[in-house]
């Protein structure tokens, strides 16, 4: 390495970059600053590698939808910030390219259609109402994460998959270890292995004794020879983890963000208009963009971009939370405005790997936030903002606890 390259390397921004103290809803200032000045930068990860990072909304959209940009985690150069190798046997389709990705994804898309979500709404409503009953019957103040935000999506995904909710302590703990950034890569890897074993066992039982739900459908595919049992179990792990980690964090963080923006909270509490709550959910998704560490890809061939060449085998990171604050895409992007049209946001990613469960996430957020505000209109934080612990060390941002009173 020459002296010049060395000094350039030292000047690189370390990724991930920290959020500013006192601004828990805003992305890292160092990255927001790059958004203004650079479309494409190099960053340095903890393992010393220096992948590219794409800042702007339009650029993230075009590259995430570009077939030359690969999501294949086994390709050399794939950027793995904050994590070690998870083990090849544990790879679900979110870390594969087409045609394998699409083949596996389409086996689990049927339950997430708009029509099926409409049929699912009464179930989600019942689960939300029951949890609010339990919350109100329990101690006051209470932790909204433990008492509402986490059980709601857990119960919903269990019902959808056909996983027994009695096992929730087991899979919640292991999911937590998977999304938590650990200096010891064996922690997430072992958690993944335990969940894989659990889902593999469930799929195995459903081969003989089919029930309702997505897992049973996957077991049928295994019997038909369309899918291996390992692929079915991997898909089950993905849906179970993704199905409650993300939504749980969105429910709690959205509630807190509304507490901190009383004018916006008043809009939600004062409205019966379903289109308003739809719009509010889209804006909260944009503003909070809870998936941290960026979407990660690797160039499968040389890509000319922004006057440079991203070479085949070089990693590319797409922090969607930065694109969602791009002023060219959203006016006054740092303002939470529930009445704006935020529907183009990239909180679910973009391209072939955009979130599979997004219709379910939207449904749960609509029902949960509406019911919370309607049934507990006096709901408010029980501690000041500076006493709240935020999940800086997780792939999915949120709060560890949210003490509330009413």
């Amino acid at each position: 390495m020459t002296a010049t390259t060395h000094s350039q390397t030292n000047a690189l921004l370390d990724y991930p970059a920290p959020r500013a103290t006192g601004c828990p809803f805003d992305p890292a200032p160092a990255l927001l600053d790059k958004l203004v000045h650079d479309r494409l930068i190099r960053v340095r990860l903890s393992d010393g590698t220096t992948p590219w990072l794409v800042t702007r909304f339009d650029d993230q959209r075009s590259l995430l939808a570009d077939r030359r940009v690969s999501a294949d985690v086994t390709r050399p150069g794939y950027p793995v910030p904050g994590h070690g190798d998870r083990g090849d046997s544990m790879i679900s389709f979110i870390l594969m390219d087409d045609p394998e990705h699409n083949r596996l994804r389409r086996m689990v898309t049927a339950p997430f259609t708009v029509r099926r979500m409409k049929q699912m709404r009464p179930t989600v409503q019942r689960i939300v109402d029951d949890q609010i009953d339990l919350l109100l019957a329990g101690p006051n103040p209470a932790d909204l994460v433990e008492g509402f935000a986490l059980p709601v999506p857990s119960l919903v995904i269990c019902e959808l998959l056909g996983v027994p909710y009695e096992d929730h302590a087991f899979f919640q703990q292991n999911s937590n270890q998977i999304v938590r950034v650990s200096s010891d890569p064996s922690v997430p890897r072992s958690a993944l292995a335990r969940l894989f074993g659990y889902l593999d066992d469930l799929v195995g039982r459903m081969l003989d004794d089919p029930g309702d739900g997505v897992l049973s459908g996957l077991a049928e595919r295994v019997k038909a020879g369309d899918l291996t049992r390992a692929e079915a179990a991997q898909t089950g792990v993905l849906l179970l983890v993704a199905g409650h980690e993300t939504t749980a964090n969105m429910i709690a963080l959205s509630t807190l963000a509304l507490f901190e923006h009383p004018d916006q909270l008043a809009i939600v509490r004062g409205s019966d208009d379903p289109t308003l709550i739809n719009s509010a959910v889209e804006e909260l998704l944009r503003y909070l963009s809870i998936t941290q560490l960026g979407r990660r890809r690797v160039a499968a061939e040389d890509i000319e971009f922004a006057g440079r060449v991203i070479k085949a085998g070089e990693g590319i990171i797409f922090p969607n939370e930065i694109a969602n604050r791009d002023p060219d895409a959203f006016a006054e992007p740092d303002r939470l405005d529930l009445t704006r049209d935020a529907r183009t946001h990239l909180a679910f990613g973009f391209g072939a790997h955009q979130c599979l469960g997004q219709p379910l996430a939207r449904l749960e957020l609509e029902v949960a936030l509406t019911a919370l505000n309607r049934r507990i209109p006096t709901l408010r934080p029980a501690v000041p903002l500076d006493k709240i612990n935020f999940k800086h060390d997780n792939e999915v941002y949120g709060v560890y606890e949210l003490p509330v009173t009413w």
């Binding site: 939808a65 994804r105 389409r106 086996m107 898309t109 049927a110 997430f112 259609t113 708009v114 029509r115 979500m117 529907r343 183009t344 679910f348 990613g349 973009f350 391209g351 072939a352 955009q354 979130c355 599979l356 997004q358 219709p359």
Partner: protein, 64 residues
């Protein structure tokens, strides 16, 4: 306006159906997009443009 869909590129996100339910539908078995009509009514053209914009698979082409 004339709408063309590419089912191979579709990711079943369903955002087109949410945006323009009189133009787009989804297959029961895998949520892949189907067309109810390829010539949207005047009142739906904005919704169809939006559907094409947010489609994560770039599976919707609009000819104006």
């Amino acid at each position: 306006m004339h709408v063309i869909i590419d089912q191979d590129r579709c990711l079943s996100s369903g955002q087109c159906v949410v945006s323009a339910p009189d133009v787009f539908d989804q297959r029961e078995e895998d949520g892949v997009v189907t067309l109810i009509r390829d010539d949207p009514a005047e009142g739906s053209v904005d919704a169809v443009r939006h559907a094409a914009l947010v489609c994560p698979g770039r599976a919707i082409t609009v000819e104006e």
